[in-house]
């Protein structure tokens, strides 16, 4: 693109806020009452991460793989693509993340993290993802436009980051880049749309995750005992 420096983020925004929020309304209506199953799934994942029964990391990553595959196909590919041709480049990211998560579920290698900054950050993000559906009614868009884990991409990405921070193992580093990238893109889109309150959530998820990972990396490097399960 020539004279690229003359372009602003809003030059790439193809749709209005109203059209964007209506996507969630239409999607929720199409999946109703599947929202109950999605909320129940998140509750089960929270229990698995908290109680840490045998095989909990495999179950968590397997469930997250399903959530990414479904959200990527049903929302990003099938719905967002109707208003944003860039969705065709974004949906494959969801497929890749789903495959990575499935791979980790099969191969194993992740374990629970008992305490420390990363765990606190993880639970904070899980709480944000669980609370995200409230944002729609609070912002006056109504429950119909609520963004719900495993149905909408933002809470899926935020909950994934949160749950991954409650786990440990080298594969965590391979699993966080795509959710991080998604949260950054989403924050930029919402900010450009003139929705700073909505942008704050994915932006906070990015910052909290990066800060937590940095803390883990610094602790590991300094040889400080990283809290383990």
């Amino acid at each position: 693109m020539s004279e690229w420096w003359t372009y602003r983020p809003e030059d790439f925004l193809l749709f209005s806020p109203r059209v964007y929020w209506r996507l969630f309304e239409l999607h929720n209506a199409a999946l109703w009452p599947g929202q109950f199953a999605a909320v129940a799934l998140l509750a089960v994942l929270v229990w698995l991460a908290a109680a840490r029964p045998a095989g909990h990391a495999r179950l968590i990553t397997a469930a997250l793989a399903l959530a990414w595959a479904f959200t990527g196909w049903a929302f990003v590919w099938s719905r967002t693509a109707t208003i944003n041709w860039a969705a065709e480049y974004l949906a494959p990211l969801f497929a890749i993340e789903a495959l990575l998560l499935a791979l980790v579920a099969v191969l194993g290698g992740l374990r629970g993290r008992r305490s420390g900054i990363a765990t606190v950050a993880g639970w904070l993000l899980v709480a944000l993802a669980a609370a995200q559906p409230l944002l729609a009614p609070v912002s006056g868009r109504g429950w119909a436009a609520a963004e719900i884990f495993a149905i909408a991409p933002d809470p899926t990405a935020i909950a994934t980051l949160g749950l991954l921070l409650t786990l440990r193992g080298p594969m965590v580093w391979a699993l966080v880049p795509i959710p991080l990238l998604w949260c950054a893109l989403s924050a930029l889109t919402l900010w450009t749309m003139g929705e700073p309150a909505a942008a704050a959530l994915p932006l906070a998820a990015c910052l909290v995750t990066l800060a937590a990972l940095l803390a883990v990396a610094v602790q590991t490097r300094a040889g400080a005992p990283v809290p383990r399960s």
Partner: protein
């Protein structure tokens, strides 16, 4: 599109479509009978066209949403009912082409339509396939105008469009830019290539085009389409709270939007301005701006100075 018969048909169709509109918009129509929009001559053919068209960037990218598609259809119905003709879109605008096509089908394919689309792909060889896909989305037998969007692969695409025009598959060809980008190259292409239309940004606060591009269009007999007349709504929002100056009454402008459009349309090089809107009342207001008195050079200077001072 340009003959009296077509104008009469357009007016008749408009009436028929108004009858089809839901109550909500019919209610808004009770503001009285609107005068037909002014017409401008397309220099390369001598045909005339309504001076206010309709853009579709963002406003018509509503995907499959049935509620929003209905709203777009209502805007189109009001547009044709008020004598509008040119609808401008692009493969870059998400679902806008499909939404226009859907609206045209539901409105019974208004004869008044002047279809203006673009080719926007960096591979010149892929141009014909993209234009064909766009044509199918619009559901028109052929486009009236295809423009090379933002000069992307302009050499290859202009060759394609030239061939299509020679074969009778296209009436007009052109190029576009916006927000003052690549004016040097734009001017060069205007000077060297046989163009029917150019599309560029020109507003009461963005007047760079007056220096070279608009005079060149007049010299070379090229029709001018003005995009982003309201800076994508930023200008109308900025002026919203300001009282209309006394000169607005002199030119029959009842809103800032109309004053801005009259400023643009009073430049002698301008053929058509294509504001985009999601609102039936705005589309009527915009079309009405082309009627009545236009500012002369002295008043244009005053208008620009007053707006700059706000």
């Amino acid at each position: 599109m340009t003959t009296t018969r077509r104008n009469i048909l357009a007016a008749g169709l408009g009436g028929a479509m108004a009858a089809l509109l839901p109550l909500q918009s019919v209610g808004a129509q009770t503001t009285g009978v609107q005068a037909a929009p002014a017409r401008r001559t397309i220099p390369s053919s001598g045909d005339t066209i309504a001076a206010v068209g309709l853009g579709t960037w963002i406003t018509f990218n509503v995907g499959d949403d049935p509620v929003l598609r209905d709203e777009c259809m209502e805007v189109m119905a009001a547009f044709f009912a008020a004598g509008g003709q040119m609808i401008d879109s692009s493969p870059m605008y998400g679902s806008a082409q499909a939404v226009v096509g859907d609206g045209l089908t539901r409105l019974g394919r208004p004869e008044a339509l002047f279809s203006a689309d673009k080719v926007w792909i960096s591979d010149g060889d892929a141009g014909p396939a993209q234009i064909e896909q766009s044509r199918q989305l619009w559901g028109v037998p052929a486009f009236d105008l295809v423009q090379v969007h933002n000069l992307l692969a302009w050499r290859e695409h202009l060759a394609t469009l030239g061939d299509m025009k020679a074969d009778g598959r296209l009436r007009y060809l052109g190029i576009t830019t916006s927000e003052g980008r690549r004016h040097d190259l734009f001017e060069d292409v205007m000077r060297r290539q046989p163009l029917d239309f150019v599309q560029l940004s020109y507003t009461i606060v963005d007047r760079e085009a007056e220096e070279r591009l608009l005079p060149m269009a007049m010299d070379r007999g090229i029709a001018v389409i003005v995009n982003r007349p309201f800076r994508q709504g930023a200008l109308t929002r900025q002026l919203e709270g300001e009282p209309l100056p006394g000169w607005a009454a002199e030119i029959g402008a009842t809103t800032w939007a109309q004053a801005i459009l009259k400023f643009i349309l009073s430049h002698p090089a301008v053929t058509t301005v294509i504001p985009a809107t999601t609102r039936v009342d705005h589309v009527r207001e915009n079309l009405a701006a082309s009627t009545g008195p236009m500012p002369d050079a002295a008043l244009r200077a005053r208008m620009a100075a007053d707006v700059a001072a706000l």
